[in-house]
Each structure stands twice: as C-alpha cells, then as structure tokens.
C-alpha cells in the first residue's frame, strides 16, 4: 500500500544539497538576466559613443551649430542644429494636438462612459497603437496630406499673422505640421492608455465624496480626479514625448526633407534626427554613417533623459502600476 518511502528528515541530506544547489543556480540565472538589462542600456550608450567619436572629432563644436548635412563631402560639413530643432518642434506640436484628445478621451472612458462601452472603446484605442508606423507614413502621404491642405490654408487665412501659421510661398503639404499630426495620432493611444490607468486608481471614495456634496460629474472630475492624477498625467505626457522624439519612419515618409531652422511649420520641408538617419543611411559612406550614429547618440541621450524624468514622475506619484502599458 505504501507507494512512496516515508520521507525521513535524516535521510534526505544528499537531496537537500542538490535542492539547495538548484535553487541557488536558478536564482543566479535570473539575477544574471536582470543584469543583462543593465548591461544592454550601458552597451547602447558605449557602442554609439565609440562609433560617433570620429564624427564628433571631425565636426567639432559645429556639430551642434551646423544646419546642413554633408558628412561625406570634403571638406565635410554637417551638424544637428536643424535636425534637433525639427525633432523638438514636431514633438511639441504633436503633444499640443494629442494631449487634450488623449486625456479627454481617457476621462470620458473612465468617468462618464458605461463600463462596457469604456472597455470596448479603450480596446479600440489600443489598436491604434498596434498599427505599424510605416502604415501611418503611407497613409499620411496619400490620405492625410491632401486632406490637411485646406486646413492649412484656412489656418493661414485666419491666424496667418502669427509666423507659425503662415506660408510665405503660399504652398502647403508635406510640412512639419502634417508630420506632427501623424505623430500626434501615433502617441495619442500611449498617452490615453496610461491616463486611463491613472484615472482608474483614483480612490472611489474621493469621487463619491465630491458627488455627495452635490457636485456635477464634471465638478467631481475637477475636484477629485484631476488633482489626484496630475503627477501621473505629466508622466504620461512625457512618455508620449519620448515616443514622439524617437519616431522615425512615419516622419521620414511624410516630411519633405529640408535642413532649416524655421518656425513656419505650414511650409513643406523640415527634418528630424531619426528621420534623417532612416533616409540617409542607405546612401551614406563610412563617414556619413559615423555622422548618423553621432546624431543617433544625441537622440538616445535626449530620449533617455526624457524617459528617466517621466518614469521618475510616474513612480513618485505612486502609480507604478500605470507605466509600460502599450
């Protein structure tokens, strides 16, 4: 009847050693894997830096002031002034467009919509994040840009006295503005998803306290939900910013490349660090590729800084569960 030996404490010495060894081994394997992450981040910085050095040496301080990009010419003339400008400006415009829509729809879905509807629409918004950027780029060229032209013309007519919304030649199209609209569409689901997580963590009691005072639903949002989630929303916006700064292909496709520092965002032309790498890489020689790596290092540094700060903000507001959602 006894199918197994009665386990005796004293007799399991050998097995105990084996168990302990297996446990330690497994723990060390997982620890090693964790360290791989640390090593990877460091390695990205180090390898980019090593390959960027020749380009930095060649360009000197003009790397940060020069607008043109002719690294393979002799003498070489290249710098990231125009690229960095375009990267930052397009990302800011994208944020201005995306944040109200993203936060507003997140509020609607968590606070106002019936639970079922909120889930279904939230799910659809997540799908927006799943569309590959090359598809957004293609769609941007052939669908969005032609349909944006009248909007751009209208903007010029009504608020064209502000240089930002004026096209001096009267032509519109593959502009920084169009690229920013595509960017906005791409970062919208990220900001919306994180905002939804954050709103969901507002204690029910806070909301009910406001409602019990006779607050309307909007007042409850303003009194209980928004103050509680301010930090988290800042974090969400910054994560969206990080994504916008690094977006490559959609911008490379939509934006007509031009190297200029110019606030007339409705005029065609402009460029970003990431898009420039994508469009120039295949045609570049060794020196050109080194220069592209150098620009990539700058991009890496910027996005790293933005992400570290954003995560810091999100962590500090005690909403650790909210980050990292697609």
């Amino acid at each position: 009847m006894t199918a197994v030996d009665p386990p005796a404490l004293a007799r399991s010495a050998r097995r105990r050693r084996a168990t302990r060894r297996a446990d330690t081994a497994f723990r060390l394997v997982t620890l090693g894997s964790g360290l791989v992450v640390v090593v990877l981040i460091v390695a990205i910085g180090v390898f980019l830096f090593v390959h960027a050095t020749p380009a930095f040496r060649k360009a000197g301080s003009s790397f940060f002031t020069e607008k043109a990009w002719f690294p393979d010419n002799s003498p070489a003339r290249f710098g990231i002034a125009a690229l960095a400008f375009g990267t930052v400006l397009s990302s800011i415009v994208a944020l201005v467009l995306a944040v109200p829509v993203a936060v507003g729809s997140a509020l609607f879905l968590t606070e106002l919509a019936p639970r079922r509807l909120g889930r279904v629409v939230g799910y659809l918004l997540d799908l927006l994040a799943a569309v590959p950027s090359v598809v957004y780029g293609l769609w941007g060229i052939y669908y969005l840009v032609p349909r944006l032209k009248p909007v751009e013309q209208w903007l010029d007519r009504t608020v064209g006295f502000i240089p930002l919304f004026h096209s001096r030649a009267g032509i519109y199209g593959r502009s920084l503005f169009a690229a920013s609209v595509v960017l906005a569409i791409m970062i919208l689901p990220i900001i919306a998803a994180i905002s939804r997580e954050i709103f969901r963590q507002v204690p029910r009691a806070d909301r009910e306290a406001a409602l019990a005072l006779g607050a309307t639903r909007w007042e409850a949002i303003r009194l209980a939900v928004l103050p509680y989630s301010r930090g988290g929303i800042v974090g969400a916006v910054m994560l969206g910013l990080g994504r916008a700064l690094g977006e490559t292909i959609a911008i490379a496709m939509v934006l007509a490349a031009a190297f200029k520092v110019d606030f007339h965002i409705l005029e065609p032309g402009g460029n970003t660090i990431a898009a420039n790498i994508a469009t120039k890489f295949g045609l570049s020689g060794g020196a050109g590729r080194d220069a592209l790596v150098a620009s990539g290092l700058v991009l890496f540094a910027i996005t790293l800084a933005v992400n570290v700060v954003a995560r810091g903000v999100v962590y500090r507001t005690g909403l650790a569960a909210a980050e990292g959602k697609p």
């Binding site: 009847m1 197994v4 386990p7 404490l9 004293a10 399991s12 105990r16 168990t19």
Partner: protein, 258 residues
C-alpha cells in the same frame, strides 16, 4: 508515522515587530491539538514556525527550537524544503493549483518531489482522496479542473494534496474559516478520522470547533496592540473549556472578550 513536536522558546518577528514571544508547547502524536485565541494573538504565526513557512514572508525571522521526534527542524542539516515535506499544511482559504486538474493537484507534491511512475501516482491519488473523504465525489471526474469544485470540496482536495506526500504532521491554519457550516462539519469529521495516523495541529477562531474536535487546547493571547502573542495555558480540551486555570482563558471561552 505520526511524530511528536516539541517547541521551546519560540519567538518570531516580522521586521522589527515581535509577533510571538517565548512559546513553549509539546504536541503529542495521534491527537488533535487546537490553538485558540483572539485575533492577532500569534496562533497563525506560531503554527507557521512549525514547518518553517514563517520564513517565507520577507523580513520574517524567528528564534527558539522546534523538535520533531527529537530532531531540530531548524538544524543546519535540514532545509526548509525537507521540513515542509515532512510537516504538511492546509491553509485558511482553499488554494488548489488553478492550472491543474483534480488528479494533478493531489499528485503535485509527489510529482514535484520526483515521483514519476504513473501507477504509483494513481495509487497515491486514490488513497489520499479516499482518506480526505472526497473520492466518491470526484472519482469520475479526476481530469476536471480543481476550480470546478465547491469551496468545501476544494479544501478537502487541499487536505488530500497535503497527505499525498505522507507527512508525519498535518498543520491546519483555520481550515474552515472560508467554508459554510455543512462543509465545516465534513472537514471536522475528516480531522477526527485522520488523527489515527497523524499529528494534527489546528488553528481556529471557532471555539465550538476546538471543543468538538480537539483533544488538547492551547490558548494564546496578547496583552494589547503592538504586544507579542503569548501562550497562556494548555491542557486537555475538556479541562480548558470547563475549569481553566487562568482567568484570561475563562474570560475568552465564556465570550467576555475576543
């Protein structure tokens, strides 16, 4: 198979909080020992030091000795794993493995400890389920998910899982607190059946249950918040519930506090 537990000077901490202080208790084999007392008196903490489950909680540590038939379970020659294979445990809430079938749940301990032969496993499964008084209810659906059982059945399944590895001692930490009265009675009957073969320790907050099933009762209490739990008195259940020596025990069993 059933073995004697002698605990002496058992003191346990969670971080800097001392949960129990200097508990000494001898638990006899083939008897049911009930640990009773008000919430937070450390009875659950104490029972978890008996099979080294206490140290699973991060920051938890303990001092003192626990001997199983004279062998120190905290001695350097034993690992926590060895101890837990020898001293089984049933938890407050039924916790069958949700990804496993009924059969696999019962066989889990054996299989994870290296038993591979199917016949051997099948034998153990049937024997344990019969012992846990669950065989008749589930023998025709051993392949079904454990989650398909009722709460009481799940708890009996957990008992079957614990006894399948043929432990010497069975620790039960409020095994009925999540169950309805009918299931509770079934489990109590089962405990009485099992005591011929095992040393059984049961933590309960239900005094009727302690009175119904146990042979020996130990009463724990705390002097106040932030104070550690202490053992007040231990004795034959009939005596504790009729003529306790300590007035705190009397106050508790007559329902004046706790």
């Amino acid at each position: 198979m059933a073995k004697r537990i002698e605990a002496g000077g058992v003191t346990a901490w969670f971080g800097s909080f001392k949960a129990i202080d200097d508990i000494g208790l001898t638990i006899e084999p083939k008897q049911i020992t009930a640990l009773i007392g008000p919430s937070g008196c450390g009875k659950s903490t104490f029972i978890r030091t008996l099979n080294r489950m206490h140290e699973v909680v991060p920051g938890a540590r303990m001092e003192g000795k626990v001997l199983l038939d004279g062998e120190d379970i905290y001695g350097p020659e034993f690992s926590a794993t060895d101890v837990r294979r020898t001293i089984g445990m049933v938890f407050q809430r039924p916790n069958p493995f949700p990804t496993m079938s009924i059969r696999d749940n019962v066989a889990a301990g054996l299989r994870l400890n290296g038993v591979r032969r199917k016949a051997e496993l099948d034998d153990a499964v049937e024997r344990s389920l019969r012992l846990a008084a669950l065989w008749d209810e589930v023998s025709h659906r051993l392949g079904r998910a454990a989650a398909s059982l009722s709460g009481g059945q799940q708890q009996r399944l957990c008992i079957a899982r614990a006894i399948a590895v043929e432990p010497d001692v069975l620790l039960m930490d409020e095994p009925c607190s999540a169950l309805d009265p009918v299931s509770t009675l079934t489990i109590e009957d089962l405990m009485s059946d099992l005591k011929d073969q095992y040393t059984i320790v049961v933590v309960t907050h239900n005094m009727q249950q302690a009175a119904r099933v146990s042979d020996v009762t130990a009463f724990f209490t705390i002097a106040g918040a932030d104070e550690p739990g202490r053992l007040v008195e231990v004795g034959a259940t009939s005596k504790i519930f009729t003529k306790p020596d300590d007035e705190r025990t009397e106050a508790y069993i007559t329902g004046r506090f706790g």
